[in-house]
Amino acid sequence: MPVSTTPQGQPAWRLRTTRAQWLGYLAWLAGISLFLLCWKLISDNTMWVFVEDAGRQGSNLIGRMLPPQWGYAHRLWKPMWDTLNIATLGTLLGIAMAFPVAFLAARNTTPHPLVRSVALVIIVSSRSINSLIWAMLLVTILGPGVLAGIIAIALRSIGFIGKLLYEAIEEIHPTPVEAISATGAGRLQVMSYGVLPQVMPAFAGISVYRWDINIRESTVLGLVGAGGIGLQLNAAINSLAWNQVSVIFLMIFVTVLVSEWISARVRHAII
């Protein structure tokens, strides 16, 4: 009871009971010890000499990045175009695969609970694994290039789009679906008339949002050889050409800002 009686017979109010309070302290203590333990593990694996040097290294790095080598920019148009293509084509491919998966994963549209769990496993695996890891794998399988990047982006997008879409499908209003089934419509017709119009805005919004994220992710796929501007970034870093690196960074920065702006505008227009 938060309200108790003091020895003097006065009622006293406290936010929590004594027991809850102690449990709270204990939880904090456990959390803090865990954090300190983790910190110790990290600090054991760290060469502190390097860390002490970090400030000098950082200013050195910035010094070498400036001024950016602007002449390098004209060699970046083609890789940038590749990056955009990886993101866009990857998103399209991802949408095409995520769409059926979402319908199989939603509780109210799945044909069978077993199919649902398979679809959920697909979604979870795709979501858990970063597109860079997919790209690493695909580069060893397909060889370096844009194709590996596109497929990596697509595989990662399945989980994201699939999850948000199946949640949207589960939240639809059930009566229109019931009404369409009552007309004697077939399964696919019920989907296309009862379910699809209801999830269409959510679907469009999710896809554009994912496209925006994919632009960001496709800028780094080149680090593992999967095409795009990341290849140039990797080359510039390996040759320690930091004044080229800064040009690439600026380029990425502007592209991402523009894509974010486009995506926000489109989503705003849809909703």
Binding site: I42, N45, T88, V146
Partner: protein
């Protein structure tokens, strides 16, 4: 003839999505041209693909018998490093995100502070973790410290943006009510702002913990510690059974994270 007259004669077509025909066809033609151009830049080396196909099959087969044993110590060390990085970076990142988020909320922060905080958020959100990791590895040397700082920096951008948005559409009447009692700035924050944003903040922190773990599996590629280095090595050595084992562990941990975060969220609400 109007659409009504047409319909009465049985001629009816769906309304087009875009009413203006020039715009409609323009967009359609533009999309086709883009697709053709984009697809033409995708050059596929089919000989290389055919050669890799068998490796692809090997990789799929590896999931049937993942090998947890032969690189056991590497996997355990990598995982431990990933997990510690995840935890510390989330705690530090969230702790730092709170002031930045407060500063980036237009309704409570003065202009110069707002601009600085928004700047931090934009930079942190624009660059992928791995790019930031490269810079921090150069500054702090190889190892989990660089990884931790990277993830903490990324966490700041993510959390601060959402926190600022939350504060911006806060229920302002509650704040005024607390202020009207003569509360100081700190007391207002504690009694009016904190209760409104806290449940979502906890939920988002759990979500970010999950993201940080997934990211910690990647930044090892550039030397920032964690399971990523082990994974990278196994893939480049074509030891797919070990890679499969690592990927399965990552999936399992993410699932566990999601499951427990849904519990925590229910418990805090």
């Amino acid at each position: 003839m109007s659409r009504e007259q047409l319909a009465s004669k049985g001629k009816w077509r769906r309304l087009p999505f875009i009413a203006d025909p020039t715009l409609r066809w323009g967009l359609a033609v533009g999309a086709v041209i883009y697709l053709v151009l984009a697809l033409s830049t995708v050059d596929v080396n089919w000989a290389r693909v055919a050669e890799g196909a068998s490796r692809g099959l090997n990789f799929l087969a590896a999931f049937a018998q993942p090998d947890f044993i032969s690189r056991r110590t590497d996997i355990v060390n990598g995982l431990l490093e990933s997990l510690t990085m995840t935890l510390t970076s989330t705690v530090i990142g969230v702790a730092l995100a709170i002031p930045v988020g407060l500063g980036a909320a237009r309704n409570i922060a003065p202009w110069p502070v707002y601009l600085v905080c928004r700047g931090i958020i934009t930079v942190s959100r624009t660059f992928q973790e791995i790019i930031i990791a490269i810079l921090f590895v150069v500054m702090f040397g190889f190892g989990p410290l660089a990884g931790m700082i990277t993830l903490a920096f990324a966490t700041i951008g993510f959390m601060a943006k959402l926190l600022a948005e939350d504060i911006e559409d806060l229920d302002w009447r509650q704040v005024e009510a607390v202020r009207a009692t003569g509360a100081s700035w700190w007391q207002t924050m504690n009694h009016a702002v904190q209760p409104q944003v806290m449940p979502r903040l906890i939920g988002l922190s759990m979500y970010r913990l999950d993201i940080n773990f997934r990211e910690s599996a990647v930044i090892g590629i550039v030397g920032a510690g964690g399971i990523g280095a082990t994974l990278n090595t196994s893939i480049s050595r074509y030891e797919y059974d070990t890679s499969a084992a690592i990927l399965l562990i990552i999936i399992a941990i993410v699932l566990l994270c999601e499951y427990s975060s849904s519990h925590v969220r229910r418990w805090t609400q």
